[in-house]
């Protein structure tokens, strides 16, 4: 029973590590956002490999069923990553707003310049027409 759970944990965290590595390598994931994932994958992998370490950690947390300790650990790291996402998304949406406002004001300025240039040419043409 335990060995099968151990195998699944091992395969799961090993696969996670490989997937993250490939995503960073192919540049679909920025290094900045991969650090926490790497950390998570490595910790889980170590726990999956070393039953003794997992037991010790479990006892420290008052959990005497190793797979539960493993899940709790995975859960905590996922929480951490989610919080990071929330912070990043908040910053992105703020910046996105600033960018849109900047573009709107630039557009306005640009249109004003264009129409003032047009008005100027129009006036000049009338003047030329009158004199000519």
């Amino acid at each position: 029973m335990h060995t099968r759970a151990e195998m699944i944990a091992l395969a799961g965290s090993g696969l996670l590590l490989l997937v993250i590595l490939e995503l960073v390598r192919s540049r679909r994931l920025k290094e900045k956002y991969s650090l926490l994932w790497f950390f998570t994958a490595v910790v889980l992998l170590v726990m999956a490999l070393s039953r003794g370490l997992l037991d010790k950690l479990g006892h420290m947390m008052g959990i005497y069923y190793a797979p539960s300790a493993f899940f709790l650990l995975a859960f905590l790291f996922l929480m951490l990553i989610m919080v990071q996402f929330s912070v990043v998304i908040s910053r992105l949406s703020e910046r996105n707003k600033t960018l849109a406002q900047e573009v709107a004001l630039l557009k306005l300025k640009f249109e004003e310049e264009i129409s003032s240039v047009k008005a100027e040419t129009y006036k000049n043409r009338i003047r030329e027409g009158n004199s000519g």
């Binding site: 590595l21 960073v24 390598r25 290094e31 900045k32 650090l35 960018l99």
Partner: protein, 235 residues
Amino acid sequence: MRILAVIPCYNEEASVGDVVGSLQTACPEMDILVINDGSRDKTAEAAAAAGAKVARLPYNMGIGAAMQTGFLYAKAYGYDIAVQVDGDGQHDPAEVRKILEPIQEGRADIVVGSRFISGGGFKSTPMRRLGIKAFAKVLTVMTGQTLTDPTSGFRAVGKKVINLFAEEYPQDYPEVESLLLVHLAKLRIEEEQVVMRARSGGRSSITPLKSAYYMVKVMMVLFIWLIRKKPEMEA
């Protein structure tokens, strides 16, 4: 040859005016572009008053994005050389010709001003020196070329590197990683000895906690480049 100086600035109102002024004196034929990286002080006004062109980023994006803005400008307007000078006054504009020369003579594609080749001047704090040494060692092994000051932000690049960096430039802590990029693109790196000063105004944007993150991140990025597809060069 048309030369553009790019000065990335974040809250450097106290020093940027002097930097622009002494750059103009040291190298009058050079155009100067200050990238105001979302400063909360009067950096942009001070730079414009000193006679520089100023590009204003709408918010703080980090030195990588700021510098790349400069490279995009250099590429778009056909500059042959781009020089990076920090806005805090730690680089001596009088030495700008030293780092320009190897590129003008076609000996190198990127020249880094190094404060560790020998000579006096400000060499950073002991902790930072240790970090710089570690990066230098790793880069030396990776590039097969002795590099002493990979974190130096006093550098000049030729047209090929302008094109490369306009395409691809690291975002967070770009100095070390960008050197590896140049090496992977099979372009030539050279170091020239320069003397640096302690910053004349403002504050460094790097705190101790950030330094630790910086070390981990940059080291990781360097090793990831080993297993990554090489950057593509434009013909």
